[in-house]
Symmetry: C2
Subunit: 491 residues, 2 copies
């Protein structure tokens, strides 16, 4: 072996065996140690470099494991004839990326083009600082996230069960998490289900997307609340379904109107406990009418209970799903609003007769949700942290809502009429009759505030204008400051 010039330096902090391995790898890649060259014995090399024989053995072991050296017992160690770099890289470095030729939009499928043309939710202040900002909606108080605790659970869970966390799990999710969710929903929301009915999904968007895929065909009609969470409707459009906007009044979705507009719709998507965005609770009468319609038409109801955790006054109205023994209601909720949207975890509770169909469909969508998050969340719930976190957030959000209401009463009189709500993470700020809410939202954006126009969530008609004011992720002083800025912007 022509000894390559190897300089090892004990002072760099890198272990000597790692330095030696890198130096040998460099010599091999540079051709100073040619393919097929027999290396000196580990003993000889150790003497030559004045390091321990273990150092050399460790360096050789690594290069053998990575395929730079090959060893023949009893006959020494050689530089590999085919180096990993050759096996792991194509012959020619590719040319610089060629600008793709323009693709005719007609190249997309019809529904692909329809989905692609769904306008993103007009986010006036998109691109501004992430996290908290008056009056951002739908984001929890990430400033109050128990990050140390979560980090500890993450660490412990990985240490304890990384092997289990590396294999595929059932499409329906990690069973202990499904059990924990079933228990929680029974107590907190009056949902009737066994754990097998709970499917863990990547948030409510996937719940809607799966539901549309499994239950709707192209051209099928689906009732949606108007105003409602229209930004999610891309899932219906992707399924080729027809949205039927059904008006919402003080009793929630107007079932009678739905019956007039599309009596034979296959699906109704509703937020009965706390209508988005108006915050009204669906009346008992309407609930009964909706369930009767679904039973009669053999249609489905997707109940989105999106931020039911945050109740400030009185007992929560129970979920629609638990009101009936008829298995026509699918129930969905998310951990995005309680913990973090980046977890990508939610749940979809389906009638027992649909469990297999949904599980199979999920396999072909993306197999299952990430295992580690599911396991850590299970620990978080079963060790009692989830309940404590919800209680803490409830107190925090109640205080933030109060701060918003008080500041608005003080500073927005005549400009925006903000009333408290019993639940949720945002308030509706009504504008005086005739004031255009999109113009108001644009003015707010210019002042660095995110305040969605109610009409951005309205599909038909022209409701009284309002701004939607999120408060959950905004500290009290920032809310007060935001209200002052909003007053100046609108005046």
């Amino acid at each position: 072996m022509a000894a390559p010039s190897l300089v090892l330096d004990a002072s760099t902090g890198a272990p000597l065996h790692a330095q030696l391995a890198e130096a040998l790898r460099g010599a091999i890649l540079a051709g100073r140690l040619a393919p097929g060259t027999r290396l000196s014995s580990t003993r000889a090399l150790a003497e030559q470099l004045d390091v321990s024989r273990n150092t050399v053995l460790n360096a050789f072991a690594r290069l053998l494991a990575e395929g730079y050296l090959v060893g023949h017992t009893g006959s020494g160690t050689y530089v590999a004839r085919e180096l990993p770099e050759r096996l792991l890289a194509v012959r020619h470095a590719p040319a610089a990326p060629t600008p793709a030729r323009h693709v005719d939009p007609r190249a997309l499928s019809k529904r692909g083009a329809a989905v692609a043309s769904v306008p993103p939710l007009a986010a006036p202040a998109e691109g501004m600082a992430p996290g908290r900002m008056a009056f951002r909606m739908g984001v929890p108080a990430l400033d109050a996230f128990p990050s140390e605790l979560w980090g500890r659970l993450l660490h412990n869970r990985w240490q304890r069960s990384w092997r289990d966390l590396l294999s595929h799990i059932p499409a329906a999710g990690h069973l202990p998490l499904r059990r924990a969710v079933a228990d929680y929903l029974a107590t907190a929301r009056g949902v009737r289900c066994v754990p097998e009915q709970v499917l863990i999904v990547n948030g409510t968007q996937q719940a809607l997307s799966l539901t549309a895929q499994v239950l709707l065909d192209v051209g099928d009609a689906a009732w949606v609340e108007d105003p409602g969470y229209s930004p999610a409707h891309g899932a219906l459009i992707a399924a080729g379904a027809t949205r039927v906007p059904v008006p919402v009044d003080a009793e929630g979705l107007d079932v009678e109107a739905g019956l007039r507009l599309a009596p034979h719709a296959r699906l109704a998507i509703v937020t009965p406990a706390h209508q988005f965005p108006l915050g009204v609770v669906m009346s008992e009468r309407r609930r009964r009418a909706l369930l009767a319609w679904a039973a009669r038409e053999e249609a489905w109801v997707l109940e989105d209970d999106y931020d039911s955790e945050f109740r400030y006054v009185g007992r929560p109205p129970p979920a629609l799903q638990g009101l009936t023994a008829e298995a026509r209601v699918l129930y969905t909720g998310t951990f995005s609003k309680v913990l973090s949207p980046a977890l990508r975890l939610g749940y979809l509770v389906v009638p027992e007769s649909l469990v297999d169909a949904f599980s199979t469909a999920r396999v072909f969508v993306d197999r299952h949700s990430a295992s580690l998050e599911q396991a850590v969340l299970t620990d978080f719930i079963t060790q009692g942290h989830f309940s404590r976190h919800v209680r803490r957030m409830r107190v925090l959000y109640a205080a933030r809502q109060e701060a918003l209401v008080e500041a608005a009463r003080r500073e927005l009189r005549g400009l925006v009429d903000v009333s408290p709500l019993h639940t949720g993470m945002h308030l509706v700020g009504w504008l005086p009759e005739g004031v255009d809410d999109r113009a108001a939202s644009a003015k707010a954006a210019q002042a660095g505030l995110q305040a969605f126009a109610l009409s951005a969530f309205q599909l038909q008609g022209r409701p009284r204008g309002a701004l939607l004011l999120g408060y959950a992720c905004v500290p009290e002083e920032e809310l007060a400051e935001g209200v002052s800025r909003l007053a100046r912007a609108l005046r």
Copy 2:
């Protein structure tokens, strides 16, 4: 305040303030401290319990934060009038779950019913010990996963950037990961792309599902390889597309046959670098013919490069995607086969003109992939661990393949003909003419071995029978033992 009988015990290990908080919470929930009761001052309670005043302050702070107590500055601390339990639970515990009424399968949509009826991949040994098992396919050597290193990256990344990891990220994925993937694909696979063309997805199944959604309408034809990875085809069925099985021969997909069967298909799904399951490389002639067809018909090619990392002999054939400046090829790969299927991370490289359509469609499917896994994987790649891991696995899998081939030559002569392949994670073991591979697979299953029948992946015709023998996740001695058992089972 009627002092509840509180017994604090310094020897339990639980901090005194936590014990005090729990004791007070218990007294409140049991009604011993009634709603509205004014508590003793922290000073008085500290004296009474013989603990420090800080202990009492900490306990009070926790109960205030969770809503059990309410504090009025200057006027003391009171038991809340509405307890969290009341606000967080519905009135009636739900009745025991009622068995759902049977739902007529016709209640599903047509495509829902079609997807639900896709048989799961006949897994003969399903339910057996997870992880390694002769001759499990498509699972990497989880026994060689760098779990300590990954745990450290996980911990460091969480510590350093938990705030960023809690917010939504772009649908297309974490940009540093998209950059790292683009660099890797350019070098290793000759893929031509800028990072913006790389979409991070939850594995190749989601890549296929998204592609079908954005590019296919109901009734559109898609060429699929036959035999091929038919277990993934549920995504085509869910999209209402028609699968056109196109035969595979020693040159890969028979493009001429595809032209005869469905010249106007909109999509072809291929594995050109290493055909699944036969392992053949698509010839230059066929590659050109396929690209010419796509250009002429304005059709799309989805190139699934599913285990291209593991090349044992010679340079890898470059990706189809990089061969052409025509933007008709979508390229997908996964980290499931290199690292772990539980990460749920893969990539889809699309032509620049499709980036927006795919990103928007992804929002409505499930928004984005889990943030933490994306960030940790980025660190794993950019710190050089990914390259090292691939090199190590290549050497390990080459040795495992060799062990399988040697054992098969020794013990399966006349029963199963196993030849080495230059790439991949499984081998094809041909059975003698006339031997039914499903029967052979069933015999193997009875002997505790997972060996899929080739015909399970064949949509049309009756090819020569073969068993697919995975080796990547099986240690050498288990492979040898598995071969002995297989010989006994088939004899």
